[in-house]
């Protein structure tokens, strides 16, 4: 059924200010939905979330079978003193732990691209001076665009969550109980703000960069700094080891340098907080912390993400106010 949004907005009692914001939001979402590249990236992301469930399930099944084979070996060779299967201590939710990495990698890039395309498109087409001749202020423009970006990211996150829930229902041995579903919901809510932060970064550099390539490459550099450099300085892990959801939070070196780095960088390392909270929520390691304890113990990480998103939002707002659409020219 087609919802008559336009008629609804025009006939409703909402103020003209809100009406123009909703119009921009609608335009933003429509533009993204029409974008074939957005579909392509979204499909890759959705496919990877399905793949993550399958990998988790297949690995769990094989690891259990390997343990059974080890039991048979211990019976055949009496010198093998086998310990209990550590996999049974891990919750069913751990099957989805790879999604932490996919949101961390593909999701963040998708966020940057959503933010980037939302503004660079108008800059390149030179449509902004025209839009601003209408009774639309810069504030309404940015609020409308950001609501549009937020709703799109919310749609992506909800769809991925749905894929996880459906796949958990169909994959044997890995059904989720109510507590686990709640943890998954909290994880996706947290991921929503993580992607929103990266979309603001993409949007910010789409406003301030002189060239289109720089507007994409600078956020990519920031993303590498947040995802790899800071966590490496804190844990001593190499970049690829940071992509393993089981070992990524292990501290390799106890030396003075890392202790100092941990003191100064841990509170501001968004990437470390994201993977840490993500692995606790999805029980990626055998240490199963209850949801009641995860949120208070990670209050700093959650507050950091919200504050960073808020700061980047205000920076976008400030830069858009300063932005001169008349003399603007974007290089490749």
């Amino acid at each position: 059924m087609k919802i008559p949004w336009r008629r609804y907005i025009l006939q409703s009692r909402i103020s003209p200010n809100m009406r123009s914001i909703f119009t921009i939001t609608r335009f933003e979402i429509k533009n993204l939905i029409r974008d074939r590249l957005f579909y392509l990236l979204f499909s890759v992301f959705a496919l990877m979330s399905l793949v993550s469930s399958l990998i988790g399930w297949s690995t769990y099944r094989t690891t259990t079978a390997v343990y059974d084979a080890a039991v048979r070996l211990s019976i055949a060779q009496s010198n093998v003193q086998l310990s209990g299967n550590p996999i049974t201590e891990i919750s069913s939710l751990a099957s989805f732990r790879n999604i932490i990495i996919y949101i961390f990698l593909i999701g963040s890039l998708l966020g940057i691209i959503i933010g980037n395309r939302s503004f660079i498109r108008e800059r390149k087409s030179g449509i902004l001076p025209l839009i601003l001749t209408r009774p639309v202020s810069e504030s309404k423009l940015i609020i409308g665009k950001i609501i549009g970006m937020g709703l799109t990211i919310f749609g992506i996150i909800s769809f991925t969550l749905l894929i996880n829930l459906i796949s958990s229902y169909f994959l044997p041995l890995r059904h989720l109980n109510t507590t686990e579903i709640t943890r998954l919901l909290v994880f996706y809510l947290y991921s929503f703000f993580y992607l929103l932060f990266f979309s603001f970064i993409g949007f910010l550099f789409a406003i301030i960069s002189k060239s289109e390539s720089l507007s994409l490459f600078i956020p990519v550099c920031i993303w590498v700094g947040i995802s790899f450099v800071m966590p490496e300085l804190i844990t001593g892990q190499t970049p690829t080891a940071l992509l393993n959801p089981i070992t990524m939070d292990q501290q390799l070196s106890p030396g003075g340098f890392f202790t100092t780095m941990r003191i100064f960088l841990s509170p501001i390392s968004l990437g470390s907080h994201y993977t840490n909270i993500g692995s606790q929520l999805l029980s990626a390691t055998s240490s199963n912390i209850s949801l009641k304890d995860i949120i208070p113990s990670n209050f700093n990480g959650i507050a950091l993400l919200l504050i960073s998103a808020l700061i980047s939002f205000f920076l976008c707002f400030y830069e858009l106010k300063k932005y001169n659409s008349v003399n603007d020219f974007v290089n490749e």
Binding site: I101, C221, V224, P239
Partner: protein, 323 residues
């Protein structure tokens, strides 16, 4: 001879233009900064191993036990390069993608190609000049990175580097160059083929994430031994030999895992470089000839990707109505 001169002229122009490009310089400085950090962290990790050894040694002496069975950590300077190789894999490839995109996008966007092709130069010569010039830039980048590494490890760190190790560094340098040229060719191929320039850049970056980060990560997380932080087999008290025997029963799973890993160019580069530099323990202190023979498969994979992407980009530049 005339053709060669044209190719060299275009190459020279590409070479000097890149050093004036902000995107390229930003990535180069970022890469060099990360290499310093990674080597420093590698040396700190080794120091902490030495400290752990000394503590354990002292504890054994104090309790009257013999420390003979304690394994003394041995310093291999090339093992410090693990982080550097991983950053070349990740940031080096983005730098190559940026070069590949910019080298085509600049002229495609400002319509300079019409003017260029009004001169007596063929499309193939023009593209070969671009490829040659940018390959030289990437060779300079890789040489600067390895020279930097050499200075840090030998002159600042005081580690003695033998001639054999120097040769291994050189082989690793050449492999890194091949790896970066593959990403350059992939990015220019997409920029040539796709109508929209922003789309070509975004698709290149998406492929970069899939090839460099996602595919190797899938293989790594499917590894049975990686299911528990301390290692699955270690956690259930199974030795390495027994684990190998057990895994023989799961050959199809291991083959799938290996096939997924082999789909990534990055994994081939990583396997080869880690073997040559002795980062993988089984190749440490082995002669180069042995490593080259054992990892011949990886060289063939890298060279095949190198040839395929370069040939495809030359053909598409020649056939495509790029003007």
């Amino acid at each position: 001879m005339n053709n060669m001169f044209k190719v060299l002229t275009v190459a020279k122009k590409e070479f000097f233009a890149a050093w004036k490009n902000k995107v390229f310089i930003t990535f180069l400085l970022f890469l060099l900064g990360l290499i310093i950090i990674s080597i420093y962290i590698g040396s700190l990790n080794f120091q902490s191993k030495v400290f752990e050894y000394q503590t354990a040694y002292q504890q054994l002496i104090d309790s009257g036990l013999s420390p003979d069975k304690l394994l003394k950590p041995t310093f291999f300077p090339l093992q410090l390069l693990r982080g550097a190789i991983e950053y070349l894999e990740i940031i080096g490839s983005v730098l190559a993608i940026a070069l590949g995109y910019l080298s085509i996008a600049k002229e495609k966007n400002n319509k300079a190609l019409q003017l260029i092709f009004s001169r007596p130069i063929s499309k193939v010569n023009f593209y070969l000049g671009k490829l040659f010039g940018n390959s030289i830039i990437l060779l300079c980048v890789v040489s600067a990175v390895f020279f930097f590494i050499y200075i840090i490890v030998s002159l600042i760190g005081g580690a003695a580097i033998t001639n054999q190790e120097l040769l291994k560094i050189f082989v690793s340098l050449l492999t890194s160059w091949i790896y970066l040229v593959i990403f350059y060719a992939l990015s220019s191929l997409l920029t040539i083929t796709l109508k929209s320039l922003p789309n070509s850049l975004i698709i290149s970056l998406s492929l970069w994430i899939i090839i460099v980060l996602i595919v190797p990560q899938i293989g790594d997380t499917m590894d049975i031994d990686n299911q528990v932080p301390s290692g699955f087999f270690n956690a259930i008290n199974v030795t390495k030999n027994q684990a190998d025997d057990i895994l023989l029963q799961f050959s199809s799973y291991e083959t799938t895992r290996n096939t997924i890993e082999e789909a990534s160019i990055t994994k081939h580069y990583e396997r080869f470089s880690f073997a040559v530099l002795g980062i993988k323990d089984e190749y440490n202190n082995k002669p180069l000839s042995f490593i080259l023979t054992d990892k011949f498969n990886e060289i063939i994979w890298l060279l095949s990707y190198f040839l395929i992407f370069n040939i495809l980009s030359i053909i598409s530049f020649n056939k495509k109505k790029i003007i």
